[in-house]
Symmetry: C2
Subunit: 73 residues, 2 copies
DNA sequence: TAATATTTATCGTTTTTCGATAATTTTTTA
DNA sequence: TAAAAAATTATCGAAAAACGATAAATATTA
């Protein structure tokens, strides 16, 4: 799946742990971990909003589309 | 909800209609319309991927977090 | 105004989030 | 290096939501 989730960089910038971010986003650490590590297949905008709010960033900072090389158009 | 979906700009850039984009993304025009007009509450990464692929853009080009003014942090 | 495109709505099915929880693994710290 | 803490992974069930199919309404275009 060439949608890449990268929350780690912003977390490092904000110096916030997964546990703390989970608490502020109001989601369990287990579920945030799943999302953070690219195991989720979708995301609710309410969750995305909370993450962006707490990390003070844009969706584009944590979600990337990386076309695979076979997909040249 | 301060997550703003803006697919129109990229569609205009690529000169593609909603119907055509829907077909290429393999989703019904009705559902793409819902997504495009901010009526959806979530998105599957598979759908986001297909949209980015067909519009040749990044998630950040079509999804924006706009904090509301009461939300000053 | 007629044709076409888009939006809105409803229903049912399927998918997926997410909580709760526990176990496992990794990382940090003393 | 051993213990503690944090993060990851897994499972189950409930709730939410995507999405298809379809039709109707509205808007746009020719």
């Amino acid at each position: 799946m060439p949608i890449i989730i990268n929350i780690d960089v912003m977390m490092a910038k904000r110096k916030i742990s997964l546990g703390d971010l989970a608490e502020r986003v109001d989601i369990t650490p287990a579920n945030l971990s799943i999302l953070k590590n690219g195991k989720a297949r979708a995301i609710r905008f309410s969750t995305l909003e909370a993450i962006c709010r707490e990390l003070d960033c844009q969706p584009g900072d944590i979600i990337e589309y990386r076309p695979d090389d076979t997909d040249n158009r």
